[in-house]
Subunit: 217 residues, 2 copies
Amino acid sequence: MSRVKLLGVSGSPFSRRIEWALKIKGVEYELIEQDLQKKSPLLLESNPIHKKIPVLLYNGKPIVESLVIIEYIDEAFEGPSILPKDPYDRAIARFWAKFLDDKCLPAAWKALWSKGEEQDKEEAYEVFKVVDNELKDKKFFGGDKIGFVDIIANFVGFWVGIVEEATGVVLLTSEKFPNLCAWRDEYLNCSQVKENMPSREMLLAYFKARAEAAANK
Amino acid sequence: MSRVKLLGVSGSPFSRRIEWALKIKGVEYELIEQDLQKKSPLLLESNPIHKKIPVLLYNGKPIVESLVIIEYIDEAFEGPSILPKDPYDRAIARFWAKFLDDKCLPAAWKALWSKGEEQDKEEAYEVFKVVDNELKDKKFFGGDKIGFVDIIANFVGFWVGIVEEATGVVLLTSEKFPNLCAWRDEYLNCSQVKENMPSREMLLAYFKARAEAAANK
């Protein structure tokens, strides 16, 4: 029986972050796939406050919130570092992780499921511009190698393009965001990304069905 | 000239957290008081994305977001630890810090500046109940000694009571939240708290003026 269990959803960016972090450390784990429409007693008991995935169970003890879990994995297990080593670089990485989760993700999600008029996209454009500036002259967020912030940015790198295709709302164009789009190209070309993402085809079918359901409402 | 500068506001809970963390480490710093009505070029240049205090400048390099700054201070300077040492305890502390900032603070602030009807307070009651449960059988968040989460909870420990007095909207009663109120009593009795809080009298006058201005709108 594995000492490390992950209560997650394989199509979720938050859950995939954790799987990626565990793989970097070489930690064996068991993914216990969750049905969010019918939450399991184990999920409700392990995360009684937020009732959300992902939850990492280590020897039965739960840890929740994907950023908190990744820092935990980085501190609790041997293996290559996930966060940078230098305190200043760590602070910068934590800043961008927070910015991506608190600002980019909600703004992008809102825009992607809007009517797609220009005014619906303004907030997303604004935060993506900030990220685009940050990526000027940089291959990845931390420099030449894929790292912590890139793992957190999986939503922008992988999911946004799929939801764009499903809903027809386009946010990321290389005219508007040349650096962010160049980052995405590099990102999608990485073997680590390919190994840590769900099937594009399956996700696209899922989001297309969701978009159709929303249109028929 | 001090190598560590803090762009802050002495009446702000976010700014006070940083001062407290610096004092724990015994780091000398210069507080550069900011006028948020008229933001200084130094603030805008140091935090161009959020344009907010606090900003820590270490040898001129800026670090922003109070939780990020405290982790930086803990990692960059010698002295007593601010976060717990054990990875699991660190994860739990980070979870509560995030819960306090993302859930408690906005809910409490909204309720405190509402009309004070019971339905305006429901969200705040809900999150305070969660915190109250967590504090059952505990003196402080981390156990017997004041620590990281208590520093983050300065808003609940110190500011909420003052704003309650200024606006007349009461949220924290020992009938509803016995553990949280017991924590607050312990908290306000600590010498570290007394040394790290602004003048109650001055803050009360400030929030009373704000409450009057809001009432006259």
